[in-house]
């Protein structure tokens, strides 16, 4: 048998049909659904008299729109159109008989945090969701694609996705990370190297000692941003940590089925002599705590650097950098560590898990915020409960952070959590596009520890100085 990559293995195990022209139907094991990209898909099913082919493999949760303030049970906290979307999901879940975690359920949260937490996401699966950060689930060695609404409808109706095979890219992070450097710094640094289009046409497998050393939470952070590098998906081969994480989760297999699953899962790795279309190697010890300065996730620099000049770039990037500097209100040559911050946002599917909250709380312990506002939005109700149990919530509250309920919140600002024009935010989310966190809002992306450091000093800060 010819050697295969992990991607090849999962692909082959899910190929339901291959046409002569190479167009493939990939069978989908898990379909995650949220309120923003699904209403038109369910409407399509109704209009054509189609049904959901595999309701038991379809899981829905509202997250993008829902308010995260403590009074959200009060319907008046939601705008009319948000409420209509959430109610549409309530109704669609019921009408089509799919698994559902309503806003009132403690298990509710960001779809990419709920899936793994409930054991829906398992190694070797194909997972799709009408959301680009579906890549997150690749941390389990699952092939996870973000899809559009027409494809959501296609998967609902047929449990398959029309796909053409991507190319294989290996991103190896060798050696150990230095203190203060996290999974977020790895994934942002990779995009800094490849650019936001560097992964287009590829599925990336992250490997190497520094990746192996990460917890499952950290691995999810890494895969989450594969899409920011343009890749169709990110993958990490499952290992003992993966199996340990999955074991005992509500929807993970039990008993004999667990044993059978383990037998297959242990074969899920790239063969030694597998062929790669592209290989990138980065030394773990070369990675520093990083932040973004511009309006594209590829605008990444170590915190110790200065704001660049447009003339530092080439081609179309010159104009883009000019525009970004103006939008961000930055002068080239300014040390990044001198940039003052108004707001801190800790949360999102990139960094809204328990380990992220621990890392931030560790920096905040016994300190007060020096910014206008700061909020923590746990990724799920269960993350929130655990953080309360561990005493993290008290640390955040005493420091001056708002302690919110679970949702996407200020990651995309579809709910009332938005930046004002010109407001500058240190955010643990994944996109710093113009207007992403509110019209005219300025976003700097970074790790939870770095965001916490910015909260206590009021400026972008090298977290290593506070450690």
């Amino acid at each position: 048998m010819s050697p295969k990559t992990l991607y090849d293995k999962i692909w082959d195990a899910h190929l339901a049909h291959e046409a002569e022209d190479g167009t493939c139907l990939l069978y989908i094991d898990r379909h995650l659904v949220h309120e923003v990209t699904s209403p038109q898909a369910f409407e399509g099913l109704r209009m054509t008299g189609r049904t959901v082919r595999a309701p038991d493999k379809t899981i829905a949760v509202p997250d993008h729109n829902v308010p995260t303030t403590l009074d959200r049970a009060n319907a008046a906290t939601m705008t009319e159109d948000s409420r209509v979307q959430v109610e549409a999901l309530d109704k669609n879940a019921k009408d089509f008989g799919i698994h559902y975690y309503p806003v009132s359920d403690i298990r509710q949260g960001i779809v990419h945090i709920v899936g793994p937490e409930q054991g829906w996401t398992l190694p070797g699966m194909t997972v799709v969701c009408g959301d680009s950060h579906t890549a997150t689930h690749g941390a389990f060695g699952a092939l996870a694609h973000g899809i559009g609404t027409s494809e959501v409808e296609h998967v609902l109706a047929t449990q398959t996705l029309i796909q053409q095979k991507s190319k294989n890219m290996k991103v190896e992070i060798t050696g150990k990370l230095r203190p203060g450097v996290t999974a977020k710094d790895i994934t942002m640094s990779v995009i800094g190297v490849t650019g936001t289009a560097g992964g287009t046409g590829y599925v990336i497998e992250y490997c190497g000692e520094a990746i192996r050393d990460l917890s499952m939470e950290g691995r999810m952070t890494v895969c989450n941003m594969a899409i920011e590098g343009g890749a169709r998906a990110g993958l990490i081969a499952p290992d003992e940590k993966t199996f340990e994480y999955c074991k005992g989760r509500p929807h993970a297999p039990k008993g004999a089925q667990w044993e059978a699953a383990m037998e297959w899962w242990k074969t899920l790795y790239s063969d030694d002599d597998a062929a790669w279309d592209k290989v990138i190697t980065i030394k773990g010890e070369d990675i520093a705590p990083v932040v973004t300065w511009g309006t594209s996730p590829e605008d990444v620099l170590p915190i110790t650097a200065n704001v660049p000049a447009a003339s530092d770039f080439e081609g179309g990037k010159v104009g883009a950098a000019e525009r970004a500097l103006e939008y961000m209100g930055l002068t080239s040559g300014t040390p990044l560590a001198d940039i003052e911050i108004d707001t801190v946002f800790i949360g999102s599917c990139t960094n809204g898990r328990i380990e992220d909250l621990r890392a931030a709380a560790d920096i905040l312990k016994g300190k007060k915020i020096a910014v206008k506002r700061a909020m923590v939005v746990p990724g799920s109700g269960l993350v929130r409960a655990q953080a309360e149990e561990e005493g993290l919530a008290d640390i955040f509250k005493e420091a001056g952070f708002e302690w919110r309920l679970a949702g996407c919140s200020m990651c995309l600002a579809m709910n009332p959590d938005q930046l004002q024009p010109g407001e500058r935010c240190a955010a643990t989310s994944n996109r710093n596009f113009e207007g992403r966190q509110g019209r005219g809002g300025r976003t700097h992306l970074m790790s939870p520890a770095m965001a916490a450091a910015a909260a206590v000093t009021g400026k972008l800060t090298d977290v290593r100085e506070l450690m």
Binding site: A16, L25, H154, A157, A260, G315, G316, M414, R431, R436
Partner: protein, 201 residues
């Protein structure tokens, strides 16, 4: 789905790289449960000021480009979120074709599901078409999907690549769910086999 075969129209130049889906349709317009009506909000934050007035400098606000049916843009067009609201807004505005050096994956796929043809051409060729587009409404660019060509107003012809299956669906306005359902037997047998080999799924 609408068919796409040939198109001759005004091309609007947007010489920016990394035009993301938040720019194409900002999130405040994602709260609809319909597919239509998004055209007025296409590029909303670039197109209107804080009071909702048109920004005269923005390309689609200029008289000569108001009826543009083709958009010419920089590298990595449509990066960012998977929101299909982006192609819905483009289509609703009246644009049926985008020409750029490269696209983000999900956006590229989404276009075909909505009767929009995204054409990828090398940077130098996009530069030529961009120049043509900058001439305004008299410069009509022609697209022929069957022949896989773009013709500038000066008669220069560029060939582009497109996946055969996607081309077939677009030219015939085919609904790919219907096409996949014709293969239900393959899906049934795959599912039955998987239930044996991976019963935990």
């Amino acid at each position: 789905m609408d068919k796409f075969d040939t198109l001759t129209g005004i091309a609007a130049p947007m010489p920016l790289i990394n035009i993301d889906t938040d720019m194409i349709i900002p999130k405040q317009f994602l709260k609809t449960i319909k597919r239509s009506g998004l055209g007025v909000n296409l590029f909303d934050e670039m197109r209107y000021d804080d009071d909702g007035n048109e920004i005269p400098d923005f390309v689609l606000n200029k008289t000569q480009y108001r009826d543009a049916e083709i958009l010419v843009a920089g590298d990595n067009f449509g990066c960012g979120s998977s929101r299909e609201h982006a192609p819905w807004a483009i289509k609703d505005f009246g644009i049926r074709c985008v020409i750029a050096p490269s696209y983000a994956d999900i956006f590229y796929n989404n276009c075909f599901k909505n009767g929009i043809l995204p054409i990828a051409l090398p940077q130098e060729q996009v530069d030529v078409i961009m120049k043509d587009a900058e001439k305004g409404a008299n410069a009509r660019v022609s697209i022929d999907l069957d022949a896989q060509t773009v013709t500038t107003s000066d008669g220069e012809v560029f060939s582009f690549e497109v996946d055969a299956f996607k081309k077939h669906c677009l030219m015939n306005g085919l609904d790919d769910i219907g096409l996949t359902m014709e293969k239900a037997a393959s899906i049934d047998s795959f599912e039955a086999a998987a239930a044996q080999s991976r019963p935990w799924v």
